[in-house]
């Protein structure tokens, strides 16, 4: 039987839509919402999508299940007045410094106020300005601009399984913040920045480095070089109402714009992506050949890398040691560019443009620096680049495209599709699997790894061995894969993980999108771009080959490792310890028993009990302080206890007692 609604007097059929809101939007009625995102659970807090359902009264469309023959009105006088009041109340409790707000122009609250024709706010402003949180390189939090829609909280929890942000307090005191009201830097945030993408206002926004870059550009002593990531060309046009077919034109226009800003060289990160593939695919083959650690995880997404460092240190050996394309660009540029530009090393400024907020954090990782000099000085997002173009007044739609500079500007299609979820895998396969093309277009050979799902699997034959591949986006999906591997539920050889839905094209540094159509369009742009490339296999890139010959020997060589690889470190998630001694003693031996969940399961409670008894009975009573630590981060070797700074792994009460006695003897 046909199911239908009557919306504003018109009969509308529906079928599998999840709720009333989706049917109404399908009818091209843009009901306002703050808290509704089709990827997230329904929350129903903003009340902006209220509609009148005959016989039922006012209901929020997002949380109303569909029933056939409902009669809906979306624009009665009462509804319009209610929406206005909601927005006015939000504005009365909002830091309305719109002109200086990072989200000005893309803010949904601003847009809605305009759409609803709000020309006066009937309520007294009650905003108490709360301090900004600028603790991270990636994001800025401005709690005074929060509308409590909870989008950030749900994204972080439901898609990324991180939960760095949460609601705290209640009623008029409610806020969204990291645990204990700490700064974001001290939380488990992986800086994917998707919170800032879903935030309807400026309460969380990417941190801007625009003014620092202008400053470097105006310094006559400095030579500033820049490189743009593949995903940037797929989205920047959205800001200027320019949508290209395949990204080539947009990339060319970006090059023109950057040159007129005064950058000495304009490069393409797709070049270093080619290099990443060569190095990473080579590493993968080595691992397979030498029975190395398998599955190998890709390591180009810094949010994913931080995620592993924080939650799954036991999987660190599985991460490819290859630097991300940004990391490779940085180190290679530092090595070769001073000579090419004839500029002293210290006067070279290296900038990159990324679709990503986590890349800002990545650039400051201690592993991406040499002798105290960071490889990449500044990281701009696509949004920031668009702003810079606007700032100098260029008409993006009308400027002529120009070419990238060499040598770091030549790429193959393999380096371009990096920006899509599945792109890295596809490019690696182009390197690893030496099948004849069989008349199949090179660009389409491995297109079976493409797709929209957050967890995709593929199998492929490599010299008689079946390779099992997983392509993942969203860290919750990644967590599931890691759990399945841990419990032997599944086996893979190669796993690509990108934190952001859709991969880098959906990154938080890109122009804000709310509609999944935008994501699909960007994905398509990169695949189309690949198609028109002369070369598709990263290993065929002549400039990459030349770079190896002149500077890096061959893939996997010692030199290549020095410049193109990196290392990872377990990251402490919790810094708290629970002190168990009643008084701090003077000359003491500090004992920390690990009470992380893994050690606890392995019996740290019994060990603690023994140690406590031991300390009581022996004559060391006033010389030993005991505390419970929440994770000493050696989970695979637990249970662990730290005695005077040294960790006793796989400890027993005997080994710890011995360590304590040894320490006491020293005194």
């Amino acid at each position: 039987m046909e199911k239908y609604l009557t919306i504003n007097g018109r009969k509308v059929l529906f079928d599998k839509e999840k709720n009333l809101l989706e049917v109404i939007r399908k009818e091209n009625i843009e009901l306002p919402t703050f808290c509704y995102h089709s990827e997230l659970s329904v929350y129903g807090s903003c009340r902006l999508c209220m509609v009148e359902v005959e016989g039922k009264g006012m209901l929020s469309a997002c949380s109303t299940p569909l029933e056939s023959e409902m009669i809906i009105r979306t624009n009665t006088e009462q509804i319009i007045e209610m929406r206005k009041i909601i927005v006015e109340l939000l504005l009365a409790n909002h830091d309305r410094e719109c002109t200086t707000c990072a989200k000005s122009g893309t803010c949904q609250l601003q847009t809605l106020a305009r759409r609803l024709g709000i020309d006066e706010i009937r309520f007294r402003n009650v905003i108490h300005k709360k301090p900004k949180d600028v603790s991270t390189y990636a994001l800025v939090r401005e709690p005074s601009k929060c509308v409590l829609c909870g989008d950030c909280v749900r994204f972080c929890d439901e898609i990324q399984s991180v939960g760095a942000l949460g609601f705290a307090n209640r009623g008029p005191n409610s806020i969204v913040c990291p645990s204990f009201g700490k700064n974001l830097e001290l939380s488990e945030c992986v800086y994917c920045g998707q919170c800032s993408r879903v935030c309807p206002t400026g309460a969380i926004a990417p941190k801007s480095e625009v003014s620092a870059v202008w400053k470097a550009l105006s310094d006559t002593k400095k030579k500033v070089i820049i490189s743009i990531a593949p995903a940037v060309r797929a989205a920047i046009g959205e800001v200027f109402g320019f949508v290209g077919e395949n990204g080539t034109e947009a990339a060319g226009k970006i090059a023109t714009a950057l040159k007129s800003m005064g950058f000495s060289k304009v490069f393409d990160i797709s070049f270093s992506a080619d290099m990443t593939i060569v190095e990473e695919a080579n590493e993968f083959l080595e691992r397979i050949k030498n029975n190395g650690t398998i599955p190998m995880f890709t390591s180009c997404c810094p949010a994913w890398v931080k995620f592993v460092e924080q939650y799954y240190p036991e999987f660190l050996p599985n991460l490819s040691t290859c630097r991300s394309p940004q990391g490779m660009y940085g180190s290679v540029a530092r090595r070769i560019m001073p000579e090419i530009l004839e500029v002293p090393k210290e006067n070279l400024v290296v900038v990159s443009v990324m679709p990503c907020t986590a890349k800002k954090y990545e650039a400051r990782r201690s592993q991406l620096a040499k002798d105290g000099v960071v490889d990449i000085d500044y990281v701009l997002t696509t949004q920031e680049l668009a702003l810079m173009i606007e700032e100098i007044g260029l008409r993006f739609g009308d400027i002529k495209p120009s070419a990238f500079d060499m040598p770091l500007g030549f790429k193959t299609g393999g380096g371009v599709i990096f920006g899509n979820s599945g792109g890295v895998t596809e490019a690696v396969l182009r390197y690893v699997v030496n099948t004849k093309s069989d008349g199949v277009d090179d660009a389409e050979r491995f297109s079976f790894v493409r797709g929209e799902n957050g967890l995709r699997e593929a199998k492929i034959n490599l010299d008689g061995r079946e390779l099992r591949i997983a392509v993942v986006y969203g860290l919750k999906n990644a967590r599931k894969v890691l759990r399945d591997i841990k419990t032997d539920k599944t086996r893979y050889d190669f796993i690509e993980v990108m934190a952001c839905p859709g991969g880098c094209i959906g990154g938080a540094g890109q122009p804000v999108y709310t509609d999944l159509v935008a994501r699909r369009r960007r994905t398509k742009v990169l695949y189309e771009n690949d198609k028109i490339m002369e070369l598709h296999n990263p290993q065929d890139n002549p400039y990459v080959q030349k770079l190896y010959k002149e500077h890096l020997d061959k893939p996997g060589s010692r030199k290549a490792h020095e410049y193109l690889h990196t290392s990872y470190k377990c990251k402490k998630r919790f810094k708290e310890t629970v002190e168990l001694s009643d008084f701090a003693h003077d000359s003491n031996v500090k004992v920390n028993v690990c009470f992380g969940s893994s050690c606890m399961a392995k019996g740290s409670k019994e060990i603690l009990k023994h140690i406590v008894n031991f300390v009581e009975s022996e004559k060391c009573k006033n010389k030993v302080d005991i505390a419970a630590s929440i994770c000493l981060e050696k989970c695979s070797n637990g249970p662990n206890t730290k005695v005077a700074g040294k960790t006793v792994e796989r400890c027993t009460s005997e080994t710890v007692e011995k360590a304590i006695l040894d320490e006491l003897k020293k005194d």
Binding site: D157, V162, G163, A164, L165, G166, F167, A168, N169, R170, C177, P178, S179, F180, G181, S187, E188, R573, F574, E576, T577, V578, E579, L580, S581, D582, F595, G596, S597, M600, K605, K609, V612, V615, E616, I626, A628, I630, C631
Partner: protein, 163 residues
Amino acid sequence: MGANYEKFETVCRVLEENKFDKSKLIPILQAVQEEYRYLPQEVLTFISSSLNISPAKVYGVATFFAHFTLIPKGKHIIRICDGTACHVKKSAAIINAVKKKLKLKENEITTKDMLFTIETVACLGACGLAPVLVIDGEVHGQMSPEKVVDLIDNMLKQEVAKQ
């Protein structure tokens, strides 16, 4: 070993008794607060790690309910009812008398020596005894400012005697 260790052991026991079940977060927090008289940050972090939920969520629950506190409370807790019935019978005067007696400023609820914490509650459900207050679980009905000051004086005397 001393009190700190015993408290921590209790936390471990409470977690075990609740089988490390996330959905038991509220009863776990209640039991832990019973032990510490407040919810210390490091213990909340420990609970979040043991139950495998993010600390932001645990913090959210701990700050949502008025019952929980993240600030240490005094040894004796005085709950003064300010519900309708008590309010009509001038509970405000009692609150003021207690505050004055304990030298508490406007937003302070705990004395500097950590002996007393005062809380006002919306209704203790003992309206027949209005105005009413509860000290350490014991109900005192038909209070007056003078009577409550006497009660506090007695408690102070007992504290001195203990020392």
